[in-house]
Symmetry: C2
Subunit: 321 residues, 2 copies
């Protein structure tokens, strides 16, 4: 027996590999969820139909549904489209919001992953009641969702709010976006790996991680994190430098916008103090003095595994904008 | 005979040296204005009284006044205070908004200079009808007033929106704020002078400006501008580099916030294309691709001489926030 009397929103989390949906109460409880490989849907409409059938067969009533939120790569909240997502098999511009709206006859809101995570943090996470904050998501890239006075910062065209593509070092590391020196190239998981490779030479004979890298074995930011747990000196240095760069990037964001709280999110956050301490140190050193003691940097209040789903489900509460 | 039937707001522009006020119609026409040396007022209340008497003696009716806007250094829109302004003789925290409110019994809004200029640009200038834009003011420092979705970005405490104090070059030039590498140290009038001094050595024998600097004569950004008008090679290089740095700073702001239009304001803007061209070139190179062709950088739509007064007068139209 389900709980058909409780209100819920439907969160849909579309990823390059997997897509899942969940029924989420206003308090953040997930009443039901299910996932599939993304490639089995040839369009948003076939995905909508599958979600519909699952909800029906579980005996949830759409009368209790306040709306649908969809988080997806390259999703644009203003246009309602997914625009040429590099890692989705739906090519070109996909009118996903209208396809869901016309099928479900319910309000639908969409956003990209990082913005959805920030909305989730605001509704279900540690940002409840805070109007000026950002979630910084450290993954393959560096994402951000920024709120100012309770409004999501996504610019006049829905593409704003991209901390990861601000220039940290003019003419610095090559970025996948075609430019050089983006913050993302220093502070994403790929940036962490890059830093490890660059520093390994200086640490020959002084670090097991350096030996590992020199031997030509495969490694990633996760490998560096594993060595960090054994107090490897190079691994510590890599996280220290990463934290320094990320601290400057966050300081620039806070100086520019005036944020009260920053939440870090994503795999490398598991490094805990090894990452957070240098971030906070650099932030306090590099931010305009007003915010040195007023702005706090913390680990996210969302659980990694369900954050994307909660983020998507929360989007409907920002639909009025 | 005045025009007592027309609505107006009172703009008060408080500077370290001079203070002026003006009666400004919603269309931006200045019906009357007057100024004094700032030091002759021992408090905001004596200033309020002088303004009151002038308006009375000119036979304007307060019935037509929609409110009062005050632009001042270190003015905080949230608190209503001027907080320890370095170049005002009113020391400590000055409760200027409440002093004006209780004297005039009218709505009063305050803001710092750069934010007031941005509000003026929105109401009377080239930003009419644009919701996502920034005004970048190049003076002794580098100020900015940023709007997103029609809201002024000033952060949770009224101190946000400070483009000039974002870090352009980590560990770069010493800034007056105590940190290093702030955009302001490269792109303000003082930054322009600093760049001229640094580059002069490389240009010995190839530039009259370089000779001037080597001879130990006094010079400022204005001197460099004067040589620029004679096509001096060093002066051109200084403005090219300044434009490059400012272009990166603006690119980071636009990547972070998603702005449609940027307006440049202040003395060095008189250099015209010598400054604007490298700014636009660097901006297009350094901004996230979404905005390369969509965001325009222009010279302000406000006239320098009256901009501060119009900016102050416009503040009342943003009071609801």
């Amino acid at each position: 027996m389900n709980t058909p009397q409780r209100k819920f929103s439907i969160g849909v989390d579309i990823g390059g590999t997997n897509t899942s949906f969940g029924l989420v109460t206003p308090e953040g409880e997930i009443l039901f969820q299910k996932g599939w490989p993304t490639h089995q849907f040839d369009s948003p409409l076939t995905l909508a139909k599958s979600i519909f059938q699952e909800i029906k067969s579980e005996n949830f009533s759409f009368k209790n549904c306040v709306g649908i939120g969809i988080g997806a790569p390259s999703a644009n909240a203003r246009t309602g489209y997914i625009h040429s997502a590099a890692n989705l098999h739906w090519k070109g511009d996909v009118d996903i919001r209208r396809q869901f709206e016309s099928f479900f006859k319910l309000p639908v809101a969409i956003a990209n992953d990082a913005n959805a995570t920030a909305c989730g943090e605001a509704i279900y996470g540690a940002a409840k009641g805070i109007k000026d904050f950002a979630v910084v998501t450290i993954g393959t890239g560096l994402g951000s969702g920024i709120f100012h006075k309770g409004h999501l910062i996504d610019g006049f065209d829905g593409n704003g709010g991209e901390l990861g593509h601000t220039i940290l070092i003019p003419d610095g590391r090559q970025c996948g976006c075609g430019r050089r020196g983006c913050l993302e190239t220093y502070t994403s998981a790929s940036g962490i790996k890059h830093t490890g490779a660059l520093l390994a030479e200086d640490w020959a004979g002084k670090s097991d991680l350096a030996e590992w890298i020199h031997s030509g074995k495969d490694f990633s930011s996760k490998t560096i994190f594993d060595f960090l747990k054994n107090n490897d000196a190079l691994a510590q240095e890599v996280f220290k430098k990463t934290g320094y760069w990320l601290g400057i990037g966050i300081a620039n964001m806070v100086t520019m916008i005036g944020l009260e709280r920053i939440f870090l999110f994503g795999g490398p956050v598991a490094a805990g103090a090894a990452l957070l301490d240098p971030v906070v140190y650099a932030f306090r050193e590099q931010v305009i003095f007003y915010y040195r003691d007023k702005t706090k940097i913390e680990i996210t209040g969302l659980v990694d595994r369900t954050a994307s789903l909660l983020g998507a489900a929360s989007l409907i509460y920002f639909k009025e904008e």
